[in-house]
């Protein structure tokens, strides 16, 4: 019970970190640092899909409210990740693992599988977010370049946070 509360607190901290990044860290026009996929992947796999989608939408909308910018961008992207993370996990990682692990982590499914899972979910997030933000206003190659750079940075950052804080706690 205590561990669960501590886990939730850690995810709240990650959300606060995301808000601070959005408000105070200027990383240029080619990068969008997003840790939201990490929060959505933290929702246990056994959770009802409708609840997961609603939670994803809620987290995204909350970030839109606190971070500034256009409302709905993060909500649309987070809803998409929440809807498809189960499919990705079942089809790309391993369907059998779903019943062995509540929340996939490096320690439960291995570094390679977790990195693939995390990268695909982050890619979905970035594709939705970047296209909605830039479509019609920026050239296609700018959008692709932005997604590529953001994906590398976001996946690496999420992996570090997951490995150093979240995974350590769940293994405890």
């Amino acid at each position: 019970m205590k561990s669960n509360i501590w886990n939730i607190l850690l995810y709240v901290l990650v959300f606060i970190l995301q808000v601070l990044i959005c408000n105070y860290l200027d990383v240029g026009a080619y990068t969008y640092i997003c840790l939201i996929p990490l929060l959505i992947l933290g929702i246990p796999l056994k959770t009802n899909i409708n609840v997961t989608i609603l939670a994803g939408f809620g987290i995204g909308l909350l970030l839109d409210v606190f971070s500034g910018g256009v409302m709905g961008l993060n909500a649309a992207a987070a809803t998409m990740v929440a809807a498809f993370r189960g499919l990705i996990y079942d089809n790309v990682i391993n369907r059998d693992h779903r019943y062995n692990t509540e929340t996939p982590s490096i320690s439960s499914i291995g570094l390679e599988s977790y990195l693939l899972y995390l990268t695909l979910c982050t890619l979905i997030y970035l594709v939705v977010y970047t296209f909605l933000e830039c479509i019609g206003a920026r050239p296609f190659f700018f959008i692709l370049f932005r997604i590529a750079i953001s994906l590398v940075i976001d996946a690496a950052l999420a992996l570090i946070i997951s490995n150093s804080i979240l995974d350590k706690e769940s293994s405890n």
Binding site: A29, G60, G68, M71, A75, E133
Partner: protein, 268 residues
């Protein structure tokens, strides 16, 4: 069993589509303003937080000196406007400046999104209204979008849908200027006829063909010239560093009602 599974799948798909549509509707309304108005409590606490963090920055950056210089600039700008109006109305006895200025401090400024915005510490109580232009001594900043009693929100020039009518200072050739989306220091001026004489280093300023910005406000210098069919695209290095915005001036066009009424009568 199969039927209940089908209903469950359909309900999930419907929920997903409903939430995505809702999100996209919010995006399509570009609802920075919507959030600004609806989330009153959140906004007030955010404003307080941004104000505090900015105050610390100003303390470090010689706040008093900056304030004094900003006031002095405001006075000089008003004097300049007065003299300019006198020059334009030499045959008239009663002269009222066309533009007046309200000095404001930036308390929140985003530069790393495709739609950026700025929060200022002045609002409706100081006479600020939506649609007013915002400038500094180094160029244009944006347009007031939403106003509260003590704060207002400005859509930054660094936004994908912002266009400003600009001209080449040396020959008056004009065209729309917009942010290029890549760097906070560069913008693109387009639709310049290919025969126009232009060189790297030429100055770009506002054309005055709008009710928002006065003419001849310097914006930047031509950094690169590229051909785009029968027109030229000019990459403009902006004078204003948006990452270092501190004090700005909100422009009041004193003839705005008259101009709008003329525009409306033309539309009819």
């Amino acid at each position: 069993m199969q039927r209940s599974r089908l209903i469950s799948v359909i309900s999930t798909v419907l929920l997903f589509i409903a939430l995505e549509v809702l999100s996209i509707v919010m995006v399509s309304k570009n609802s920075i303003v919507q959030r600004y108005r609806i989330m009153g409590g959140v906004r007030n606490s955010q404003s307080a937080m941004w104000n505090t963090s900015r105050k610390v920055q100003y303390f470090i950056n010689y706040r008093v000196e900056n304030e004094r210089l900003a006031q002095e600039n405001l006075k000089l700008r008003e004097d300049l406007e007065r003299y300019r109006t006198i020059m334009d109305n030499r045959d008239s006895l009663i002269v009222e400046p066309l533009y007046s200025y309200i000095q404001a401090r930036v308390i929140k400024n985003s530069t790393n999104k495709q739609y950026n915005y700025i929060i200022l510490n002045k609002g409706a109580d100081k006479g600020i209204k939506p649609g007013m232009g915002v400038i500094t001594d180094k160029g244009i900043v944006g347009v007031v979008n939403a106003v509260e009693k003590h704060h207002c929100q400005v859509i930054s020039f660094l936004s994908a849908d912002q266009r400003v009518s600009a001209k080449l200072t040396k020959n008056g050739s004009f065209g729309p200027l917009s942010w290029n989306g890549h760097s906070v220091m560069n913008a693109v001026m387009s639709e310049i006829p290919a025969h126009t004489e232009v060189a790297v280093g030429d100055t770009i300023s506002t054309s005055g063909f709008s009710t928002i910005y006065p003419p001849d406000i310097p914006i930047g210098r031509v950094a690169k010239i590229s051909e785009n069919g029968v027109a030229l695209d000019l990459t403009v290095a902006l004078f204003q560093n948006f990452s270092a915005l501190q004090y700005v001036y909100v422009i009041t066009n004193n003839n705005i009602d008259e101009i709008k009424s003329l525009e409306e009568s033309n539309e009819e």
